[in-house]
Amino acid sequence: MAALAEVRVEQVAREDLVMFVNACFSCTGQREFYGDARGQSVSIEFLHQYILGNYRRLYARTLAAGINHFNQAQIILNLLASGSPADARDKAEEGALIAAALRALPPQRAFRVLESLRGRRINNRRARAIVRDYVHGRANLAFDAVKYRSKLRAAVSHGHLKLEGELGPFLFRGWKKRSFTQPLLETFRRAHYTHEALYELPYTVAEGLAVKHGISREVFLRRIEPRLTAAERLRLQESAARERGTPPPVDLGRASLTKLALYVLALSLEVRRERHAELHAALEQAAARVLRRAPSPLQRVAAILDNSYSSSGSLEKRRRPLGVALATHYLLSAAAREYRAWWTCPVEEPLLVSARGQTDIATPLLEALAWGADLVVIVSDGYDNDPPKAVAELTRVFRSKLDPERHTALVHVNPVFDSEGYAPRSFGAAVPTVGVRDAEDLPTVLGFARFAEGVASLSELEAYLASRVGAMLQRDAGGRQGHDEGRRQDAPPAEEGES
């Protein structure tokens, strides 16, 4: 009896964790096509508190599982808010994980976490140490002081930090009080008085000052253009065109795969047709770059890609599910030896895809199975309505009657978090569902899928997380060494854009 209870306990723990990690891949607390933002944030907050309360060590280790930035930030904050664990080894590991995760976050997100510490009144000794290490580890603090001024000030004052040189006076005594010897700080000061200095500042800082000086948007965009980061360029395409200016040129070779897919989908059909060769090549390159980082050789792969109307996403995540589907298409076609894709509403050319029509996943799934794929990847938000529940039934019967030996692997990749189910919506028990935010995570997520299926045990899941923790800490240590050798931080890595 006791043994049985133990098995059940283990099962519950595994299910809880799988659900949590899955949610952490997809949920960003933003509005989705079927769910509103409030429901999303309530749901994900509850999940965080629940897992933190019950499985603290695994909660911390989730930081290394490749989850999205929003959830990494949440975990860091929640861990810092709840004091440190009693066990010395856990304590050390958790501290290292938090520090590593914070360093790996894009700077604007990391600074947002530090600012939230003040908002949530978290000020224990560990939190202060983490803030101190992070701030002192930044390569170019003067740049941060200009670009993330209020956030850095919040972090510094809340954590009682001492800053060297002119930074302290710059942040706290007001930049008006004196002139600076630090060139960037001095530029910032001068930019309040002259137009010229403005164009030497980061775009986000200059933008506000340009309004203050009454510089017309067109002139401003033209002159600030050399200072734009890759993400800012991508982001400005639409608004620049709207303001009747010329959008800044984009270096398609640098953007990440999903970002690129979203950029392509935002273009009009005519433009997509005109620039077809260029866009196609850029997407293929981006896919190849992802695979170089995380190679995953696949054999005969079929993809069922959902381009129904619901894949248009929401105002906050515009066309994100469709973008993930398009990016997955390129990623899988690069990774697999043999590859075929089926869209729910057939398209002549993947690049010209648009979100339209109903979700009929059963028909393409049948074709994919008939083609004889080893691995079938379904990218969908989990709502199939033509006919409803057809995929669940289809896969159930397929597994039980036609393929009990599991020759064909089925994976459902879901970019949408369903707040009512506390997990990405699934197609029933026969297909494991994994959440994903970017198509780049696909290799990670495919590795995680066997846990979602429920065949692997809790200890395996723990071992998996532990191995990822090891890899992450090692990567972090390597990064810091490289960093000490003097990596330039002038142009910070691509920003996260809308999220």
Binding site: F33, S308, Y309, G357, Q358, L369, P388, E393, V397, K401
Partner: protein, 389 residues
């Protein structure tokens, strides 16, 4: 002479139902059309006035029969032999009627429910056409001056007769359901169920038109069941299952899925049984080329679901346009009483006998239904006094 195009019984010929999409209590069933002819097109014309006064008889500003309502939009239909497709969307928006300023508001004066604007162009007010037909049922009142009827009833009949309904946007659930609904490529219509009760059906001739008109469903009006049943729980998702025993190959699996889809269509057809297949009384409204615009109502029996609506039928008998409104129970009751009175030439005693009740009970029923103003006060008082003795 009866026109063959006049509908006796609503048959969804050439139309196909697809599995429903559910949002909360609202179930939306797509109606698909496989063969699109393209010679009848519809566009939307919006009016942003607080109310519209439609002159049903008489000129625009002359005294006569008027229909007054909030009319958010009208439909403009264009027909012709293959020309409609080419002409579609190219016309300039004609000035429709007149706009009157009334203080801070504007009132639109419209000429007739259905108005020919060009050789092959017609403007109509959807649902209002059917509602106007419903309101004008037995509108004249008693033809023989029976002693029970009031002076007002005898001289003016039922004027003004009014009915109220609920606009679609009164239900946030409907708005959400229409927003998240995924339109099929061949979809030309929609059956709208609330708490699995059919509220309305809407079918047009061309899928592109449907796509453009989809959101207008939220501006249409529905019977009060939209709100009343809106408080009920969610409509069940009704997942059908596949039969394991009949599957031994992928081909079987494909057939089973096909059967599942068919089952859904049959089931929805069954759910809409009180509209499709029920016998109708229809009256022709307008002949537009080979198309006949007509309005209809079902039996008006209070024991059944009742719908009113308008339809366009082509020369070959296909249903090209359909829009229906489900009558609420009270509305059905009123129509029923009036039709019974009319059949007995408005004689109270005869009608009471026909309805197996007494004349005084019938007068009370009339008063409760809102037709108290037809009867003399003394008759009503006598009827009210009677049960107390």
């Amino acid at each position: 002479m009866t026109d063959a195009r006049l509908i006796q019984r609503l048959e969804p010929a050439g139309l196909r139902l697809a599995p429903s999409q559910v949002c909360g209590g609202i179930r939306l069933v797509p109606v698909l059309r496989d063969e699109v002819r393209g010679d009848l097109r519809m566009t939307l014309r919006t009016y942003d006035d607080v109310a519209a006064v439609v002159s049903v008889k008489g000129g625009l500003k002359e005294p006569g029969l008027k229909y007054i309502s909030y009319v958010p939009h009208g439909l403009v239909m264009t027909w012709g032999n293959r020309q409609a497709e080419a002409v579609y969307g190219t016309q300039l928006q004609a000035v429709d009627g007149k706009s009157l300023r009334a203080g801070p508001f504007s009132i639109r004066l419209l000429h007739r429910m259905v108005h020919r604007e060009d050789r092959r162009q017609l403007r109509m007010l959807p649902l209002h056409l059917a509602m106007e037909g419903f309101l004008s049922l037995q509108f004249g009142g008693p033809e023989i001056a029976w002693a029970e009827y009031s002076r007002e009833g005898l001289s003016r009949g039922l004027a003004p007769r009014s009915e109220s309904s609920v606009p679609g946007w009164a239900s946030p659930m409907l708005d959400g359901a229409l927003r998240t609904f995924e339109i099929h490529p061949r979809q030309v219509g929609l059956l709208l169920f609330n708490a699995d009760v059919l509220l309305s059906a809407f079918v047009v001739a061309h899928p592109d038109d449907y796509r453009a008109l989809h959101r207008t469903l939220v501006e249409d009006f529905y019977c009060d069941l939209l709100l009343q049943y809106g408080f009920l729980g969610d409509a069940p998702e009704l997942g059908l299952t596949l039969d394991d025993a009949r599957v031994s190959s992928l081909e079987d699996l494909r057939n089973e899925v096909h059967r599942m889809r068919q089952d859904w269509a049959d089931f929805h057809g069954f759910m809409a049984g009180s509209l499709f297949g029920a016998s109708l009384s229809s009256t022709p409204v307008y002949k537009a080329g080979g198309f006949l615009l007509q309005r209809f109502h079902t039996s008006l029996d209070p024991a059944e679901e009742n719908h009113i609506g308008e339809a366009i039928v082509g020369t070959d008998g296909t249903l090209e346009y359909l829009k229906t409104y489900r009558l609420s129970a009270a509305q059905t009751r009123r129509a029923y009483l009036l039709s019974q009175l009319a059949q007995c030439e408005w004689h109270l005693e005869d009608t009471a006998e026909r309805l197996r009740t007494t004349a005084s009970d019938l007068s009370l029923r009339l008063r409760n239904a809102g037709f108290g103003y037809l009867l003399k006060d003394s008759v009503l008082e006598a009827a009210q006094r009677k049960p107390r003795r």
